[in-house]
Amino acid sequence: MTTTQIDTQVSDFTEQFQRVKDEISRVIVGNEEIIDGTLISLLAKGHVLLEGIPGIGKTKIVATVADVLHLKFSRIQFTPDLMPGDIVGSDVVHESDTGEKHLAFQEGPIFTNILLADEINRATPKTQSALLEAMQERSVTVGTTTHRLSPPFFVLATQNPLEMEGTYPLPEAQLDRFFYKLKIQYPEADHMHEIMDRTTRREEPEAGMVLDRDEILVMRDTARSVPIARAVQDYAIRLTLATHPDTPHAHPLTQRYARFGASPRGTQTLVIGGKVNALLNGRVHVSCEDIRAFMLPALRHRVLLNFEGEAERVETDTILEAIMKDTPEPSE
């Protein structure tokens, strides 16, 4: 591959990303950060946890993304009585034309490209584990047979932060498997007007298909190819280490309020997300700005507060913002 081809590839990447965003924006009002974060996670081979109060468009965003990307889409509404088999599928008895009976694997809704796990914290940990294992391994094992999931496999899980009774909050280890945790905010007044205008007419806007599966896979490869200098990588590592209360890099707020910091998976998230962000800005190298751009969604669910932090209702975002502010960029 020549530099000219790469140049073209980078331009195509940026242009395709913008096209997807524009198409989604026809349906979704505002929430640019959520849309960017969702698409970056998709291109970085990650999964997204969406958190927000009911009725602000979490499911709509996911459905629109699926529409635009021309990918197979499934939705699972998580409930306490949902079983792992309901997600991954199970072996069922089939009868052939000759009357011969045999067990055949009946695929569950997880065999898709985009999976919406709605209100994931309402299912039991056993069921959650079945999904989270598939997210990590990108395969499902039923009995003795392992079934590969077709790429791209992209999970968008949602959870409601208000109604916590009767829920099963995701354990820290499982939260770590989400590339980004995106918080959907309540729309502003201007955006509310726009939403009303779009959704209370006879015809609601619909998003068309922009990207197909192959193009997404190419974009994924392109994103991973972006080089990163050691100094910038070191910056990402320092930011991560600053979330650990026991390291010399620990930030004072971390020392006071954090129990555990982000895992190396968090640093991977910063770097890969930074690479996608660099491409979106037309660059072929990762800068410190790219690392910082999505640090909050990348690390906010990976920093665990201690008792004092929880009692003081400290937001992990507050700690991360302080770390971003106080960690100096490399000077050379």
Binding site: T3, F307, E332
Partner: protein, 530 residues
């Protein structure tokens, strides 16, 4: 364009930027060094103007500052990754989002891939458009303005006429002041030793002063040692004061005994006026005129002398013995023996007169010694050491007064204040002179001071301990401290964790109780890091 050409383009631009950065950095360091050196010089000049201290010459300061600056410059260049730094500066100043920095790092690594080639190519293109002069302009630090001001102040100070330190006595150290006044102290002691009536002075005191003078001339004594020597000499000078007072009292009693006698009127008047030579003369005239007295007069005189010889005053026992002999001789009409005894009385009086004169001379020397000590110690706002010295001196003086038993008891109170002791005059001499010095009350001992003393002695009042407010957490844990735990920790941990989770996740805690609940759980939490 080849990778090598692109690399050299980037390197060339970075070198130019590095040069500018280094020039700016050197100017910055130079400005700091200049300010430091000029500041140090200014500080020294001001110090010399105010207090008498020895300071190193200005040239030495400038030389040391220059050497330190050059050493720092060399050190800062050793191991400095200059082009990497220049790349960082270029990225930061031109807002290049780490492009040059990343490209230069990959160039140094020697990595090659189409992506890296593209990055280097783009960085070279960016570097070509950079203007190092505009990006890193050489600027003269504003700190040089400060240096200029400092230099101006130095020049102004150089123009100030100076007759020595303004605060020489106030701010100079004991040792400095002592060195300067050494010669003056030696002169004072020499005057004292060689002054009029030197033969009357106490030998021991003179020996002490001579020894102190020798040490002073040989520069082998310190401020404190000299003070101690002077104090000891003063004590020696005042040794005879007690005896002198007793002698005066005895003579006064003698006067009381003789008062009313016509024959002894002249003698009594002279004694009352403390004119002992006149008294001796009067006594001798009386002795010569004994033959002219009538029997009645002789009998009365014998009786008077007999009564006077019975007073209990050991200090004049010789005189009293002679008086008794004279009385006996007169009563037995042995006039020749009586005249001889009267002559012995006169001789004893002459000796007493000599003793009193000698002690007066010693007292004058004592006063002179004390004035010297006061001059040495007298210093407005003196150091604690000096105050201590002055206080000990005053205590010594107070001790002498109490020995003499004639000084007012309140004089001791007055001298307990170290600052007023210097003005209290020669109250230490035991002459009984009530005008020895103005009495001043010392500072009263406050309750706080008394409490502090008790705390120092380890006897703090219990109420103070009781008054200390206990921290709520201390109160909470007080019970636990007083008794050993009867519940195993593992039996408490699980319910505690459960309660904590429930409280945080499920229970709605009113805001006003949140702090209390938090304190409770903080108090019982295990160390999370273990």
């Amino acid at each position: 364009m080849s990778r090598a050409v692109e690399g050299s383009t980037i390197t060339a631009v970075l070198r130019r930027i590095d040069l500018k950065v280094r020039v700016n950095q050197t100017l910055h360091h130079l400005s700091v060094a200049t300010c430091l050196v000029l500041g140090a010089l200014l500080l020294m000049e001001v110090t010399v103007l105010l207090v008498p201290v020895n300071v190193p010459p200005g040239g030495l300061i400038v030389g040391a500052g220059s050497a330190a600056f050059l050493a720092f410059l060399l050190w800062s260049q050793v191991g400095a990754r200059r082009l990497e730094r220049a790349a960082g500066v270029a990225d930061q100043r031109a807002g290049l989002n780490d492009e040059i920095k990343s490209a230069y790092w990959f160039m140094r690594q020697g990595d090659s891939s189409p992506w890296i080639d593209l990055l280097v190519g783009r960085a070279a293109e960016t570097a070509r458009q950079l203007d190092p002069r505009g990006l890193v302009p050489v600027t003269v630090p504003k700190r040089f303005g400060v240096a200029l001001v400092l230099f101006g102040l130095l020049q102004v100070i150089a123009l100030v006429p100076s007759d020595g330190p303004l605060l020489s006595f106030a701010a100079a150290s004991d040792s400095t002041r002592f060195e300067q006044a050494r010669e003056a102290y030696a002169d004072d002691i020499r005057d004292l030793i060689d002054g009029e009536g030197e033969e009357l002075l106490n030998d021991e005191a003179l020996a002490l002063l001579e020894e102190a003078l020798e040490e002073l001339e040989a520069a082998e004594t310190s401020f404190d040692d000299l003070l101690r020597d002077l104090r000891e000499a003063q004590d020696a000078f005042e040794e005879g004061n007690l005896e002198m007072t007793a002698t005066r009292d005895a003579l006064e009693e003698l006067v009381e005994e003789f008062s009313g006698s016509e024959e002894l009127a002249e003698f009594v008047d002279a004694l009352r006026n403390q004119d002992l030579s006149e008294a001796v003369e009067g006594l001798r005239e009386l002795s010569e005129g004994l033959g002219d007295l009538t029997g009645q007069q002789l009998e009365e005189l014998a009786e008077l002398l007999q009564d006077a010889s019975q007073i209990d005053e050991p200090v004049i026992d010789e005189l009293l013995a002679a008086l008794q002999e004279a009385a006996e001789a007169i009563s037995e009409e042995r006039l020749a023996d009586a005249q001889e005894a009267m002559e012995r009385v006169a001789a004893a009086l002459e000796e007493i007169a000599d003793q009193l004169a000698r002690q007066e001379a010693n007292n004058q020397a004592s006063e002179a010694t004390q004035e010297m000590q006061q001059a040495m110690a007298q210093q407005p706002g003196g150091s604690p050491g000096q105050n201590q010295m002055q206080m000990s001196q005053n205590q010594s003086m107070a001790g002498q007064s109490s020995e003499a038993s004639t000084a007012s008891p309140s004089s001791e109170v007055a001298r307990s204040d170290g600052s007023s002791g210097a003005q209290s005059g020669p109250a230490g001499n035991a002459t009984g002179d009530p005008s020895g010095g103005a009495l001043e009350l010392g500072a009263s001992t406050t309750l706080e001071a008394q409490l502090a003393l008790e705390v120092i002695d380890g006897a703090a009042p219990e109420s103070a301990e009781e008054q200390r407010e206990l921290d709520p957490e201390d109160l909470f844990q007080e019970a636990s401290r007083q008794q050993s735990s009867i519940v195993q920790y593992r039996d408490v941990r699980a319910p505690s964790e459960y309660s904590r989770g429930s409280a945080l996740n499920a229970e709605r805690i009113p805001w006003r109780y949140r702090s209390l609940v938090k304190k409770y759980f903080l108090a019982i939490r295990p160390d999370e890091r273990k």
